[in-house]
Symmetry: D2
Subunit: 346 residues, 4 copies
């Protein structure tokens, strides 16, 4: 029944689990351990994360990216606060209002061309302080790499964190695809988050070959005092935590995460180069991580989707999104380009 | 480092994953599938669940038991409603206020001797209808098997569901250990839930050998119209859903769930029989599923915990809880009894 | 149409506004003042309140008692906290779940005989600290005078506040009828709240002859840092605040509050004495403030209600509640007793 | 102390209560009536409102405009919905996130030039239907007259309501200044709301000479089934309701509301005409109701504020807001213009 499995570029979460991750899960599957994270596997995973992000941090595992984002922001806000973000941010358009529901906060979206927000744009929302009629700005949330496949430079991030801290505002980073950004910038985890002044990070490895590997990382440990309660009350505390924990260890040890995201990014570059040659196609965003956004002829979209998974990003503009992942192959791209060209000829 | 792994009776979630579950996960780990449940594995799992619970139902997978309970109740309540439950219910004492936070409802706890509530007790809270000052009772939540290791008979459940429906109230069942109750009652899933008049079920297989296998099942499909939105907004929608889904299929096919819970229940019986002989120990609840509650001499508790995981249930009364699981062995019990007796001798 | 106005003992909020209050409103009705409390009338009212409760406090006016209770508790809790109170507390049975909805907290009710809770009873809920599965107890809420017409002694309150503070818990007092308690105890406002260790007070004068005069008073000013935002977000910030403020000034100046509550309490005593003589009637609670609870023959209730407003408290026990207020007259009582006796004769 | 009372143009809520309103309150202050709205005054007020808005409607009184807006929207949404509104809407910028906190919904703001939104602009947010990752649009909220002193024409409203209903969306109108719009359009209450297809109306008379006179009106009675519970749970149910109710009766009887808003609008016209002559001042919005927005030389603002209350609307642009009210006098305007001109000369 499942013989001819369709592959595609719909999302990096359509890919499976990396074999090493599965191996780690299997290896952890022995004997009894205390539930809810009080076990050696979780301890080991946290140690491993600290090696990458710095020792003086707090780490909590959660089920998914929405959980990481919402709980991370809840930890640093009161319900009368507001959260500034790009209009395209996952927290703004892809979480069904989970941030508003759980935090009570208002989201203040900023329209962007490329998914990145700047200090200049942020300033638009920086008013009404101390005025009780107005939601009080408290968090700037940025996504790295962005939902549009672009990447904040280190300088851009530091401009935001510096501005934020000068104004008593905190910075949350949605790092569901942080690995791809680290590769793109030739940097490391610590430099792009902890050292860059980020306060709270949603760190995701699910899209990097994990099964369900998401964490909230606090670089200022004072901010996480209550977090264990919010995680539980937010329905995000796993009983058999060890299986979540070992995914982090497996991916962060031996540079597996690096191999995976380097590969995904490279596949995106190759795909981008291949379509760049096709005159009927216009790439709309810089390809800096593992996503390609392109305007393609409307009439071929559904035909192309018959063979390959991918999403329409903007129906009106006939803009589509192609994501690559750790398991994308050059053959996938070859076939895709072949099919694309063949459809365009007709 | 992890050589001498400590085993114990702390919780059925301290056990690992059943090897068949791991095999199923591994088998599903091939190629790309659409995320968030639009895949053949999820479809197959839902079909399998329908074979056990009835065809005309709605099934949604979520991350954990708290998520299943809270979202299941949210689906059938408004914030001005109240939820009647046993004082010992997981929703009342073990979810850090997640039900109140997400549903806005008031919980109306009923003190019980054995974790089970009766229609007579429920009536205490059945007042204030149509009176806007009073939270309006809307849901009765029962746990099967209960947090105290007891089991509602079919008749007891039907008395509650009939009473509820006569009063325009719905019945939620927390079935984190439903398998153990089904074994205990020599019944089947459908008879004890769907046929017995339950409206919404939290169905858990995590404690039965799954990794993270929890579902919300609606026996009245009208109640689940909005559920997909609540699941997403409740941060309980998994991207790589297939790995969650196959756990259900693995455990519900070939009666693996039955084998696992039968074993756990049998181990509880054996353990209960063995301690029943010990004069210094008093079993405090009927052992009807996979939990044993017992009063033991205070002075041996910490010594015993050095060798075996288990929890103190009631410090004052020196009452402890021992849970058995699919991987409890007779050797575990032998050793435990040996150690217990040795400590009592001193 | 409104000629023969029915009077009664239904609630102290069925009474009108004291003429002095109306006069104060009228006097304030001149010229323009800044809205939302930044005006001289509000300033004057707060000064007056400070004369009664102590200088080093924070005072905020809100619309009603539910608003005062909920926002006062919100200011000192996080959503993962729990609030301990009498089962009969207004916050538990008469606010339609507003505390749960707005604070996210769990309410932990204590069954009582007389509406008062004791340290011994409170201890039942003092567990699960630092355990993330359990809502963390943070507030003890007591009502003074209680919903059952009884009054905590100063000693009883101080036992609770001392116990609370030793356990890092705060004490909220629902003082919708605080005036009646002050009269009953021959004390003053400051002694029974601020000096007794209460942290947050809902102070109500609506039932004392006000129109809508409710305040949240913080005796520890650190607790009110965010309160102005919660009041606004809680929909409790009045635009034309001056009319609310002058009610406090009018009632607290020249001992009008004292006259009013002394009168109400005295009327309750007289009514109690008069019914004490009637053998078919049993008074069920000590009459310490302005409420009388009594078991009366079921068959006369509706007939009596034809002439006088009052509520059935407990249908099963045929227990009713009679409240007196600042405008209850001895004639009201005479007529009531006459009617009562006449109905009992039949 | 209060001798030389400063007057001004800060807000229509800086004005006092109309003497007729005070008289009505005084007249209602006799005898006992049942609390919480079950009284003849409330009944009469609702009847009066029905004479103006249509018979087949449901009316509920609440404390303030924020309460009316938030509860009106709560009644017709689930937490996974979104609410489309102008970026300048009171619900978006002046309620401290109360809509998000109480409804759980996402607000989707539309930038506007003049405070009015159009169907074309609304369409931008009309996507993601049936897609669980996306908050589901459910309500369009418009303000009449707007926060910028402009007025939707009947046609503009009907375009929105028709579009909304075709798309299974409801329309909420924030009518805190509905009276001013009715005067401006030479229409009546029913035509501009009920007949125009509005589903839920926040109807305010506080700014028209009331003390605290706000109502939620449902033109489709099915939508208000649960409203009484939300009002109570939302802390918006007044105990001494009669004093709120009679304000409606007083203002809606004998065309007092009409006189008041006609006057306020006329004062705005006069003020606008007077400043139109001053070359250094630019009026930035059409003066269609009782507000004037103008850019004035930055250097005179604080000096002018010494004598007259008013707010800076946009600091950067040196734009101020002047509101007129039922008690604004031509003398107020004369003095204001005199002072303005005198300051400009320096």
């Amino acid at each position: 029944m499942l013989k001819a499995i369709k592959r595609g570029f719909a999302s990096d979460n359509n890919a499976g689990i990396h074999p090493e991750v599965l191996k780690a899960i299997s290896k952890a599957n022995t004997g009894h351990v205390i539930g809810y994270g009080d076990d050696v596997y979780t301890e080991e995973a946290i140690c491993t994360i600290k090696e990458h992000f710095g020792q003086d941090i707090d780490v909590y595992f959660v089920f998914n990216g929405t959980g990481a984002n919402v709980l991370g922001m809840k930890a640093v806000t009161e319900s009368y606060n507001s959260i500034i973000c790009a209009e395209t941010a996952h927290i703004n358009v892809d979480e069904c209002g989970a941030p508003e529901k759980f935090t009570g906060c208002k989201l203040l979206p900023i329209p962007t061309e490329n998914g990145k927000i700047s200090v200049e744009q942020i300033k638009y929302h920086m008013h009404g302080f101390d005025f009780e009629h107005h939601s009080q700005p408290k968090v700037i949330s940025i996504t790295q790499s962005t939902e549009l496949g672009t990447v904040y430079t280190l300088t851009e991030i530091m401009e935001i964190t510096q501005f934020a801290h000068e104004n008593n505002i905190l910075v949350h980073m949605d790092g569901a695809r942080l690995c791809n950004a680290v590769v793109s910038l030739h940097t490391n985890f610590k430099e792009i988050s902890n050292d860059a002044g980020v306060d709270v990070l949603s760190f995701g490895l699910t899209k990097n070959g994990g099964m369900n590997a998401e964490a909230v990382i606090f670089f200022n440990k004072k901010l996480s005092d209550d977090f264990k309660y919010y995680r539980k009350q937010g329905m995000q505390l796993a009983s058999k935590m060890r299986y979540m924990a070992v995914q982090f260890t497996a991916l962060l040890r031996n540079e597996l995460w690096l191999k995976n995201s380097r590969h995904a990014n490279r596949m995106a570059q190759i795909l981008a180069e291949r379509v760049a040659d096709i005159p009927q196609i216009t790439i709309t965003q810089k390809v800096e991580a593992n996503g390609i956004f392109a305007i393609i002829p409307k009439e071929i979209i559904s035909r192309l989707q018959e063979r390959f998974f991918f999403y329409i990003w903007n129906e009106e503009r006939s803009e589509v999104r192609w994501m690559t992942s750790f398991d994308t192959t050059e053959e996938d791209i070859d076939e895709f380009i072949k099919q694309l060209k063949s459809l365009l000829k007709k």
